[in-house]
Subunit: 255 residues, 2 copies
């Protein structure tokens, strides 16, 4: 397939690399920052442009991997070419594209990408939606060339998925940060916690989180919780956070 990447951020970079490795041709990379466009274009053997009016219309698919609030505007400008276009956003409805073109879809890779860190794209869940069944099937076939985890997910479900990813990724990472800060303040090394963080994530690869839960709150160990809150004295924010999260754990339904 001939594919045009719109955007040159983390998602676009990983997606373009995976598609190229699977034998597709990335023909062009667009970014308003020509330096970023050129870097990604160089890696995948494509042409770079920062001028949307020079977009090559001889393509099979536009992949719009830009900030959520820029998708609508870009889609409108690309619609003139009457080619299939998808966005890669978890939080954006398919409607944003289907309002400007009948041939639209979503190609949402559910993973946290950084440019510096490689990862195996075949294990990345790809959530797919199309404006009609033919397009959906076409996108599923494309998805299967780069990932073993293809899911049909409609726009309403995708919103929930995106929200749940905040709870499963962004917030845990913030809690790692809180833990690290506590260590730093007491001259302890973050390496002390790294194996624990890893094992906590590994446990729920097989089990469900309710089974894997440990710690004072799930044991209703009020003495330890009181001691922890006292250690956090002087930081009302962290005390509130500790209390609220412990309350959640105590209300968990063990299944």
């Amino acid at each position: 397939m001939r594919i045009t990447m719109i955007g040159s951020g983390n998602v676009s970079t990983h997606l373009a690399a995976a598609l190229k490795n699977a034998g597709h041709r990335i023909i062009q990379v667009f970014s308003p920052n020509i330096g970023h466009a050129s870097l990604l274009a160089y890696h995948v053997g494509a042409e770079a442009t920062d001028d949307i009016s020079t977009i090559n219309a001889e393509t099979d698919l536009f992949i719009i991997a830009v900030k959520d609030d820029a998708i609508a505007d870009i889609a409108e400008q690309l619609a003139v070419h009457q080619k299939l276009m998808v966005h890669t956003s978890g939080a954006t409805s398919l409607k944003v594209l289907s309002e400007v073109t009948p041939k639209a879809g979503v190609f949402y890779p559910l993973q946290t990408f950084s440019k510096e860190k490689e990862l195996d794209f075949r294990s990345v869940p790809l959530c797919i939606e199309g404006t009609d069944e033919a397009i959906t099937k076409h996108l599923i076939e494309l998805g299967q060339t780069i990932s073993n985890n293809i899911y049909r997910v409609d726009s309403a479900q995708r919103k929930i998925l995106h929200l749940s990813a905040v709870f499963a990724c962004n917030f845990p990472n913030y809690l790692y940060y809180v833990a690290q800060n506590l260590l730093v303040k007491h001259e302890l090394d973050f390496n002390l916690l790294r194996p624990l963080i890893m094992e906590t994530a590994e446990k729920v690869q097989q089990q469900f989180p309710a089974v894997a839960q440990t710690g004072p709150a799930v044991r209703n160990d009020v003495q330890t919780m009181a001691a922890h809150e006292q250690l956090l004295e002087g930081d009302v924010f962290l005390q509130n956070l500790y209390r609220l999260l412990s309350e959640g754990v105590m209300k968990m339904e063990k299944n």
Copy 2:
């Protein structure tokens, strides 16, 4: 070394196996539940007992791996033998032992253990403290036979460490549970999130959490945050939790 295990829970089980594999002799396992004592004793080739008065005094070390609030009582009963004893608790001061015997220490493995899941003990951080320098050194040497990650951690630091482990392990696991519940309610598969959870933990093995942070809060994307809060409508608890965690992320110091 001849070692006596007091307790037969997760920590005792993993520790006993690691010590046996390193060539030490587990001579006896005590548990008030003879079935549990026998099972662990069988695995490590030891004798089992549920009667503390039949404890074999011909040992070099008592490892007390029982619930925090049971440590003091057991230590008092073992003190008569005048042998070195350590506990394995993150939240308990060395004082609980040193009040009943001069030869005491702490041997705290900072990891979340489950009996069903094997793990490589050599990567488990072991936090060590002794009542004097000779005992500390002796325990460090013992620790080095089973782990590559030995740290000297005093009782005040260990309390902080234990608190930070709640933030780095127990609370993230609870957030996985919240995410899973959101998925289940909308007929989505938890497998969709498992690779994301894994990658989030993997990222901070090299980087610091502040660098790895992603999501709407760190971008100050108030529109997405408002949409997420609306999706949580009807669940005031989760709305509060979402708001508080997002507030924390927005206050993060990117370093």
